[in-house]
């Protein structure tokens, strides 16, 4: 299968059919947008603490917002709306989705199941270039005279419709870009599912697959089921924006009677809640595998963890109403959604306990991937627990649309998913690029991210509890927020430290790519199949199809002598 024929630069690096190259393309795209979206977060924090003050030079104040209507280099209210809208959109759909699903889905799935490539390589390539096109459309909206979309990442009508909404074509571009990104995701989902169903190496049963692959498999199923629903919603939103329909418009400004803005919220959250799990399932899988590798013992309750992840996948489709408690939902329906949502905490707690079980009495090695994996336990634990307050109607009605919600979903999405992604990058970088990421810079990156991140996101919840609404432009306007304005400034300083440390990560990434220490074949002593191939990994991956005999976490087996792991394709020594 490894036919290493001559390839031109174009077919090798640009329009490559190789899952490893496509994975790296997604990684570059994701990291670019991570820095881009992260920079926008810095601008948001500046505006919240130094409202209507010109941006300093280190936030590119000499270049940005020069023609701002409120003064050169100053973020006005309209620009602020655009900032938080695009920050959310970019971080969710253009940063963590390409990194977790695009990059590591592509890179890990075929290697971990012992396959030569994805089952539909051409579809895989088209999937990346569709995402690229989506990025171009999204970035193009920055050039529009009225700027980008500004109705929040959820783009609720009426803010997102021309009737009574925000002027300009930004929303149209947003909708188009998201439709394209969704199409790319769906192509990926078809590919990932079929690959896992069809290309598992002999002996690789479903319950011998690494949990990373399990997470990506379930994510793909959720994508296949729920992205089409948002696609239908986006078609309707697009027509409202460009064709003069008013499906989502109601009230005195509507000229066509019978439109329904709530319809969009339903459609959005039918997709939007599973989207949370779409993002976090791969991170859960990665963390489950990594804890086992760095505790040098088999994952505790491997099968139970996989089954819990399946249960959560199933439940995630029937809880979307918990985002809409304040829309005048009938109490019975509200309580049903609340009950179903709280039910999710049972499987989540079980596999959380399994993580603790994996660590229990393990020989822990605190390499950088392990630091990030363990920090996911902390941030996801906090994010999960605070989710209970949002899921419970009585507390949610108070907390709805405050910074408490912002803090909660930053803990689950920004912190858990992103730290899972960082763990994955530090862990697989040697296999992807043949060099190690520098561990000293890695540790600075970890502590420099972990501490400020908690200082920002935890205090978001405190601010929210004090009544800080999630989308207000200037918190200093409000009497009831006066006591927490000091906290607000403290968060901003922490956020700037958090942002600066990510520059170090980007530097480490590029520096290690060129100058990093040459990696060993299996630097972490991991048991899954991707560590049995040499680098550079040839097109076609395995020189001979591996025969799988072990589970994915064979560490510290008592009969092993000179090493403490057993690759999945390696029989026990007799």
């Amino acid at each position: 299968m490894s036919n290493s024929h001559e390839q031109s630069f174009w077919s090798k690096y640009i329009f490559s059919l190789d899952h490893k190259v496509i994975g790296k393309q997604f990684l570059w795209l994701g990291i670019f947008f991570l820095l881009f979206g992260g920079f926008q977060a810095m601008l948001i924090r500046w505006s919240l603490s130094n409202n209507m003050e010109p941006l300093p030079w280190w936030l590119l104040g000499d270049f940005l917002y020069q023609s701002s209507p409120v003064g050169a280099g100053i973020i006005g209210p309209d620009a602020y709306n655009q900032l938080f809208t695009m920050h959310g959109t970019i971080m969710i759909f253009w940063a963590i989705t390409p990194i977790l699903i695009g990059a590591f889905g592509n890179f890990c799935i075929p290697l971990q199941i012992g396959a030569p490539d994805m089952v539909f390589p051409k579809l895989n390539m088209i999937s990346f270039w569709t995402m690229f096109l989506a990025s171009v459309v999204l970035l193009f909206s920055y050039l529009l005279p009225e700027g980008t979309a500004a109705g929040g990442w959820t783009s609720y009508p009426p803010l997102s419709t021309p009737v009574g909404g925000i002027p300009g074509q930004g929303q149209t571009m947003w909708t188009l870009a998201l439709t394209l990104a969704g199409t790319s995701t769906l192509m990926g989902a078809i590919n990932y599912i079929t690959t896992i169903v069809r290309l598992r190496a002999p002996g690789m049963d479903y319950f011998k697959m690494p949990l990373t692959t399990w997470g990506l498999f379930l994510t793909s199923i959720l994508n296949a089921l729920f992205v089409p629903i948002i696609a239908a919603g986006l078609i309707i939103l697009l027509l409202d924006n460009i064709a003069g329909t008013q499906f989502l418009v109601a009230g005195s400004k509507a000229t066509i009677p019978g439109g329904d803005p709530l319809l969009y919220q339903h459609v959005f959250w039918i997709f939007g809640h599973p989207e949370v799990y779409i993002l976090i399932l791969p991170a859960w899988g990665i963390v489950s595998d990594l804890l086992s590798v760095f505790a040098r013992k088999p994952a505790f309750g491997y099968k139970v963890t996989a089954i819990c992840m399946c249960t959560i996948t199933a439940l995630s489709g029937v809880v979307w109403g918990h985002h809409m408690y304040t829309t005048g939902m009938s109490p019975l329906l509200g309580k049903t959604f609340m009950f179903l949502t709280l039910l999710i905490s049972i499987p989540s707690s079980i596999f959380f306990l399994n993580w603790l079980g994996t660590l229990w009495k393990g020989a822990l090695k605190f390499d950088v991937p392990m630091l990030f994996a363990m920090s996911v336990m902390w941030v996801f634990g906090l994010g999960g627990l605070t989710g209970l307050y949002n899921a419970t109607i009585t507390s949610d009605i108070y907390l709805h649309d405050t910074y408490f919600v912002v803090g909660h979903f930053h803990y689950t999405m920004a912190a858990s998913v992103l730290f899972g992604g960082f763990a994955a990058i530090y862990f697989w970088f040697p296999k992807m690029f043949g060099r190690d990421l520098d561990p000293t810079m890695g540790k600075i990156h970890f502590w420099g991210s972990f501490i400020p991140l908690n200082l920002v996101f935890f205090n978001m919840m405190v601010m929210g509890y004090a009544g800080h609404h999630r989308r207000i432009f200037d918190p200093s306007e409000f009497e009831f927020l006066k006591p927490v304005l000091g906290l607000n400034d403290f968060m901003t300083t922490s956020a700037f430290i958090l942002g600066a440390v990510q520059v170090l990560f980007a530097f480490n990434f590029v520096w290690s790519l060129v100058k990093g220490k040459l990696a060993e074949k299996n630097p972490w002593g991991a048991a899954t199949l991707e560590w049995t191939v040499d680098h550079p990994i040839p097109h076609g991956n395995f020189s001979a199809t591996p025969q799988v005999v072990n589970g994915p976490h064979e560490y510290s087996h008592p009969s092993l002598k000179d090493k403490d792991w057993l690759a999945q394709s390696e029989p026990l020594p007799s």
Partner: protein, 197 residues
């Protein structure tokens, strides 16, 4: 990895002998079916909250579209005949029935365009009412599927004219058939929901 090389089907595969391409098409059909479900349910929700909704046949021409529905069902039949022909190694039969199917699809689209034209000159436009919007969005989304189906048939017909298929190589024809039958089946749903109820 060679693109055309048939991938081995693992032992004990729960999906039986279905080829990988077929599996991919089934997944696509589920995804596509769900986007239709999204549009149909959104239409139903808008209808439920609308102040008024025209009765069946009040504005839409049911007999004409019933004929169109019948025509589409016939093309499903000719698609089965096309697959049947190539499974017996009958290349001419494959081409003949694929051409019939494609022609049927084109006539369907022609009638739909005629219907749209008739509505447009009578000022029944996309943004006339929620009702007209739901009508155009759903039928047009389906029409685009028929159009893609026709283009897809043309591609397979081109490959057939090059002699690509034979009695033991007809997987692509079967996969095309899956898509075409899906487009037909969805039309029956759309016809029922938009025209008849």
């Amino acid at each position: 990895m060679n693109q055309n090389q048939a991938l081995p089907i693992p032992a004990n595969d729960p999906f039986g002998k279905a080829t990988t391409g077929k599996l991919g098409m089934w997944l696509f059909i589920i995804i596509d079916g769900l986007s239709f479900a999204g549009l149909l349910i959104a239409g139903a929700a808008l209808r439920a909250s609308a102040p008024s909704w025209p009765a069946a046949g009040e504005l839409l021409n049911i007999p004409l579209t019933a004929f169109n529905t019948f025509l589409l069902i016939c093309t499903s039949f000719t698609m089965v005949m096309a697959l049947n022909a190539i499974q017996k190694g009958d290349q001419a039969g494959l081409k003949k029935y694929l051409t019939y199917t494609m022609a049927g699809g084109l006539i369907f689209l022609g009638i739909q365009v005629y219907e749209y034209y008739h509505f447009i000159v009578n000022d029944f436009l996309l943004n006339t009412s929620i009702y007209s919007g739901v009508f155009y969005v759903t039928t047009c989304f389906h029409g685009l599927h028929v159009l893609s189906g026709v283009i897809y048939i043309a591609c397979i017909l081109y490959a057939a004219s090059k002699g690509r298929y034979s009695a033991d190589n007809w997987d692509h024809v079967e996969i095309l058939g899956l898509f075409w039958h899906f487009v037909d089946l969805v039309w029956i749903l759309v016809f029922t929901v938009i025209y008849l109820i």
